[in-house]
Amino acid sequence: MKESRFQEAIIETLIEEMTHDPRMSFFECRSGEYSGPLAAALAPRFGETRVRSIQGCADGMSAAALGSAIAGRPTLLSFDAASSFLTASGNLLTVLAQVNALIAQRLQIPLVVQIPQSSASDLEQYAEGVLQQAEGLIIAAPSRGTDARSLLSRLLKGSRPAVFMQPDEDCSSDAEAAKEEFPIGSARLSKPGRDATLVSWSSGTAAAEEAASQLAADGIDAEVIDLRTLQPLDESLLLTSIQKTHRVFIAAAGPGQAFANALSQLIYTKAFDELDAPVEILRADHCGAFRRGREYAARVKAVLTNSSKV
């Protein structure tokens, strides 16, 4: 299972980091009665003073985790549902911004908030749009287990508050990927191409990769970029790609378009002259990388065919 490989990567990284740094703490805010897989794996190893899990109390847990981080303990705050994070995010993001302002650059806040990218698929609430409001917050949205490993371990060792989004479906394949070290804010060129740039992150990447392989069958050579972090954003890889392909498609994972809109605004501002067609935000009604990818491919093909007629 691809999905469990991602989860596995997170658990292994946490065990490694918590073993390495005895101060590191884990807070779980769970929606159900029982602990999730992370807390279940960590609690027997590290005990109840380092692994704290509670049902509900999303606001209180967020505040407590921030307190723990301010006290100097690298702290991972884990939500098993995007919706409980979203209810607590108002308080948490407001306070993080205040703390940032209060202490300027002097204080370290090693807090990593780990959330699923979306809530239950029938509600489709995505966190990207909300997170974007928090200046200075690192937003990691990897698509592969191997990148998750590297990012999570860096974030936990860092001194800045961060959110780590976990794709909720169809991870980009990393069966053969070797562990790669990369700086925070560096995107990955998943597949090089000449005809169009597909920008993606988190669970959108698997669909974009699927779309690219279906387009290849039609003779369209699409480039796929996996952003890995939404903030900071790897503008240079993005702009280099646009200079080559002159066409951009943003594979937004769900209907939460705020980040995709901001991204297209950025592209218009920085690369307007390079564009042969408007930036297109891809949406899909389906779940699953294959079906999503097929919809994306159809849309990309239609746009490219139409614009070449003009």
């Binding site: 209180g60 505040a63 407590a64 307190g67 301010i70 308080n91 703390v99």
Partner: protein, 284 residues
């Protein structure tokens, strides 16, 4: 009674009172002044600070200046923090001094729980003490903080500064006490203007928290709307301690302290008229 201790307590209370009066006059802007007008709380700030260990964490949910001075800072430092230097912020937030403030009031309560949870479990445990006002009582965050404090058995002391005269007359606030006790908090209601009552209550709450890891709530009445805490009235914590000093034949010491405080305040006035220009460096 230990004369030296009483003299020190009086000095700190008077220093805070005079400093805040000076600031309120010099900084007329309302938002800034609200932080400096905690008149009547001096006994609580100085009393609590005098029985806490240096390693203990103090969280001022309401952004009170008094507890910052009582806890750790010189007036110059308090002034530079108040005037927003360095870093252009109005804050006394200072992890190095184990002093945390400036965040939304109710949020500070569960934050304190997290700070307490982060302390190493050693023999001489660190206690987190959070000062807040009744404004936070209606927030869900207060209740979540009670849950975390009791569930995790945290070395945590909540100190409520309230102006609820009715609760004071009845001896305690029954609803609040029952609520906190239901969560396993020990609760004590005191007159927060009586520095000796404050010392006794905070000391026993902190000791219990330190030794058994059980959380506590101290509900301290500080006078209705600060009206009866005006200088000179018998309810005013500063004047009443001054009277106590006289009763203990310490009038000379009292006058000497007042002279010293005058000179300190004079310096602050000088800095304020200089536009606080020199304070920036003092805070670094």
């Amino acid at each position: 009674m230990d004369q030296e201790l009483i003299a020190k307590l009086y000095r700190n209370m008077l220093l805070i009172r005079r400093f805040e009066e000076e600031l309120a006059e010099a900084v007329p802007a309302k938002p800034a002044r609200s932080r400096a007008s905690h008149k009547g709380h001096e006994a609580l700030a100085v009393g609590a600070a005098s029985v806490l260990e240096e390693s203990d964490l103090v969280i001022s949910a309401h952004g009170g200046l008094g507890i910052f001075i009582a806890r750790c800072a010189s007036l110059q430092e308090a002034l530079s923090a108040f005037l927003g230097k360095p870093a252009g912020t109005h804050t006394f937030f200072s992890p190095e001094r184990k002093f945390f403030t400036g965040l939304p009031e109710a949020f500070s309560l569960p934050l304190s729980a997290g700070l307490a949870a982060a302390q190493p479990r050693s023999k001489d445990k660190t206690v987190a003490v959070c000062f807040f006002t009744e404004k936070a009582l209606t927030s869900g965050l207060f209740h979540e903080a009670l849950i975390l404090g009791s569930l995790w058995r945290l070395p945590l002391v909540f100190v409520l500064e309230h102006e609820d005269e009715e609760a004071e007359r009845d001896g305690e606030e029954p609803g609040l006490a029952a609520l906190a006790e239901a969560f396993g908090f020990s609760v004590e209601s005191i007159d927060g203007r009586d520095i000796f009552a404050v010392r006794a209550a905070v000391h026993s709450a902190a000791t219990r928290a330190r030794e058994t890891g059980s959380a506590a709530l101290v509900a301290a009445y500080i006078g209705g709307a600060a009206a009866d805490s005006r200088s000179g009235t018998p309810q005013d914590p500063v004047s009443s301690l001054a009277a106590k000093l006289d009763g203990l034949h310490m009038r000379e010491i009292r006058e000497r302290i007042e002279g010293e405080v005058d000179r300190e305040i004079e310096k602050v006035r000088g800095l304020l008229t200089a536009g606080g220009k020199h304070c920036g460096d003092a805070g670094r």
